[in-house]
């Protein structure tokens, strides 16, 4: 309890619950480098066992991606130009609006990792958290997508699910009626921490990274320890081009976007 000098102006409506505004894990996304190639979306889906939902549901706004590439257009036709691509994922808010509204504590804050977590087996599917999320990054399992027939091959009337062979054993497969969202690849965090602990050292910067950052061909995504002032991510987070989304909501997001503009 040595460094409890919290800047009260930066702590959200819930009050200063000994929660530090800076957080432990953080991410920096450089929009000037992002090419919008969607490799992070695919990598995230593979890492976190996110099923695809087919055209109809996807077009109706039911994709399960934990990260999405947003793009917008500026100006009137024909002088149209696209704005920089904007990867949007859970901002791991320090003061998350999704947490207090869950009646069953399925959306909780991890004190150890200072992350915003979703406990799948507690969730009863009220979807209040998703309504209250200003970033709209929580996704809901509208059906049992992972065992829908469109994931299967039909061998003489018997359904075989080849895609189930690439499931990540470290991550749950969610059933219908459950909210889910980006976890900052907490399974990788735990793995790295366990390894560091067994070797009697602290987790080093750059020792591991999230699936999206790993897959990014232009290194637009940087992930690491925010509370380590030497780490790349904490240096980038203080870059003069950095900004955070919807800062006026006072959600204390842990993701900094870089954009020269």
């Amino acid at each position: 309890m040595s460094n409890l000098n919290i800047d009260l102006n930066r702590v959200g409506a819930k009050g200063a619950l000994a929660e530090e505004a800076d957080g432990k894990w953080g991410m920096v996304i450089d929009q000037d480098v992002c090419t919008g190639c969607q490799a992070c979306v695919a990598a995230c889906a593979m890492e976190n066992n996110i099923p695809f939902v087919m055209e109809e549901d996807a077009a109706y706004g039911r994709t399960l991606h934990w990260i999405r590439i947003e793009r917008f257009w500026e100006g009137e036709y024909p002088e149209v130009r696209t704005t920089p691509y904007q990867p949007m994922l859970c901002q791991q808010c320090g003061s998350a609006p999704c947490e207090p509204v869950c009646p069953v504590f399925a959306s909780v804050h991890s004190q150890a990792q200072e992350l915003n977590l979703q406990v799948y087996n507690r969730c009863i599917g009220t979807r209040y958290c998703a309504n209250n999320c200003p970033y709209q990054v929580r996704t809901f399992n509208w059906r049992d997508y992972a065992i829908e027939p469109f994931h299967a091959n039909d061998f003489d009337g018997q359904l075989v699910f080849p895609l189930h062979n690439q499931f990540n054993p470290d991550v749950t497969v969610r059933r219908r009626g459950i909210m889910e969202k980006c976890t900052f690849c907490i399974q990788r965090i735990h793995k790295a921490e366990d390894k560091a602990k067994s070797e009697g050292r602290a987790v080093e910067d750059g020792e591991f990274t999230t699936a999206c950052a790993q897959a990014c061909p232009t290194n637009a995504i940087t992930f690491g320890l925010l509370d380590d002032s030497e780490s790349l991510v904490s240096q980038l987070a203080n870059h003069k081009h950095g900004y955070r989304h919807l800062e006026e909501m006072n959600t204390l997001p842990r993701i900094t976007y870089l954009q020269e503009g």
Binding site: V104, N131, W142, G177, L246
Partner: protein
């Protein structure tokens, strides 16, 4: 002197004056009948059923079986994908139905508790009909909440019961308050429905045979109508009448907090509490008008108990509620517009000229314009079918109001990339199912319990008298308690 006595004291002159103003056929209080006869009329209205009743009952039962139970079971098995909810409209028609049915249920409490406490005489014949709407409406509201859950089979995790997970529910969540408030309201209003029913059940017990006698004997709890029993019953009813009023106000306020506590454009409005309560009364009054007209048209002897004076009084009440509703409506929208928040501004402009603008304008027309333009007219108020039509339009308008607040306002948020319209899927069937179930319960209840509280009507007629205030004769009720 003869001239002045003719003006001031003459019985004849007053009697004529009275005849002019009050046609006995218009006022239940001026048309008393012996108690036994009224009892027999109510009993007969319960027993008389035509083949049409059974046909309608059969259709409703079929709708409940298919549109409610089958559709819900299918949705539980398939997941919410069969419904129309999507991102960003995570909440859809199920929550609209919940708010709507809780709104309907408010009329019952308002009419029976508040008007009872205020000693408004016109309430007497239709308190029961309104209270039944409370209970049956709340059943539909509860069912709609459970329909909306993604994993409804785990809904008991919201209850504060000891469990192996060592986890207490989150009392920060408005949904938790909702659960507690609605449960309290269901229990309270059911007891409040039951208490004034006891003397009528005892009456029915003494006048029926066979299984009905057993049914009424169990429910009447051995009520014989002694002095002491009446004293206890009146005390209990008084306690409940006063206690249920704050519950009623709190329930819809808490339901509104589901929205007002969320930080979304359009939702985060501090006036939502009273606005929702008034909205609930608005739709509830309209629904009472519809139910009374249907009761009067279809059940035997009801034209004796439900008269023009009641429709007149109900029409006035609807108009006053409509005025107050308009105040809160414009308060909500104008203050939000004045706030000038970027996203709220976007939302309001989208509402007034976007694809759902027709719904927005219909809401204003049905909830405010039509009641304002029609209900001031006594002839409109005393025409049952016209009053039922206006009540129906108000209910459509109020349904649109909730529809705009839930899925339409959810379509616009702070992340323009996710903006998307909501289209109801299986919700349409489940909505039909809840309406059918409400009507089915109501029709079954109309055969089983006296829809007219005979003892209350009798009491009103007994203590009713004319009092002279200046030159006018005012019907009053003497205090007796």
């Amino acid at each position: 002197m003869a001239v002045t006595s003719g003006y001031l004291g003459s019985e004849k002159a007053n009697a004529e004056h009275h005849e002019e103003e009050h046609d006995p056929r218009e006022s239940l209080m001026y048309d008393p009948r012996p108690r036994g006869e009224m009892n027999a009329m109510v009993m007969e209205s319960m027993h008389t059923t035509s083949w049409k009743f059974w046909v309608v009952l059969g259709v409703l039962a079929f709708l409940v079986a298919t549109c409610f139970f089958y559709a819900w079971g299918y949705m539980i098995a398939e997941g919410l994908g069969v419904a129309g909810v999507n991102r960003p409209a995570y909440w859809g028609v199920f929550l609209v139905n919940t708010v709507f049915w809780i709104g309907i249920s408010h009329a019952g409490t308002f009419i029976s508790a508040i008007l009872r406490v205020m000693k408004a005489e016109f309430r007497r014949p239709f308190t029961r009909a309104a209270e039944l709407m409370t209970t049956f409406g709340l059943i539909q509201a509860g069912a709609s909440i459970f329909m909306h859950l993604g994993r409804v089979w785990l809904a008991y995790w919201m209850f504060p019961i000891p469990n192996e997970r060592q986890l207490w529910p989150n009392f920060h969540s408005p949904l938790m308050w909702d659960l507690l408030a609605i449960t309290t309201y269901v229990l309270g209003s059911t007891m409040y429905l039951f208490l004034p029913l006891i003397p009528d059940l005892a009456m029915a017990r003494d006048r029926s045979t066979g299984w009905r006698k057993t049914f009424y004997r169990i429910l009447a709890l051995g009520f014989r109508g002694t002095e002491g029993e009446w004293r206890h019953l009146t005390t209990a009813m008084n306690i409940f009448a006063f206690a249920i009023i704050p519950v009623m106000f709190s329930v819809h306020t808490i339901v509104s907090w589901d929205f007002a506590m969320a930080s979304r454009p359009g939702w985060s409005s501090t006036v939502f509490g009273p606005y929702f309560v008034l909205g609930a009364l608005h739709s509830g009054m309209g629904a009472v008008a519809i139910v009374l007209v249907i009761m009067r048209a279809t059940m035997k002897h009801m034209d004796y108990f439900i008269r023009k004076e009641h429709f007149d009084a109900l029409g006035k009440l609807m108009m006053i509620v409509s005025f107050t509703y308009a105040y809160f409506f414009f308060n909500d929208y104008i203050v939000q517009w004045y706030g000038g928040d970027k996203w709220t501004d976007t939302l309001l402009h989208w509402l007034e000229e976007g694809p759902m603008a027709w719904m927005f304008y219909q809401m204003i027309a049905f909830n405010i314009v039509i009641p304002f333009l029609t209900l001031w007219n006594k002839r409109v108020r005393t025409t049952p079918w016209l009053l039922a039509l206006i009540g129906g339009l108000i209910n459509v308008g109020m349904y649109w109001e909730r529809y705009i607040i839930v899925p339409v306002m959810l379509s616009i948020n702070r992340m323009p990339f996710t903006w998307r319209l909501y289209e109801p899927g299986i919700e349409i069937y489940l909505t039909i199912g809840t309406f059918a179930m409400f009507l089915l319960f109501y029709m079954i209840a109309s055969r089983l319990i006296p829809l007219i509280p005979v003892w209350e009507v009798q009491e009103g007629q007994m203590v009713h008298s004319l009092r002279k205030v200046g030159k006018a004769h005012v019907p009053t009720v003497s205090e007796f308690e």
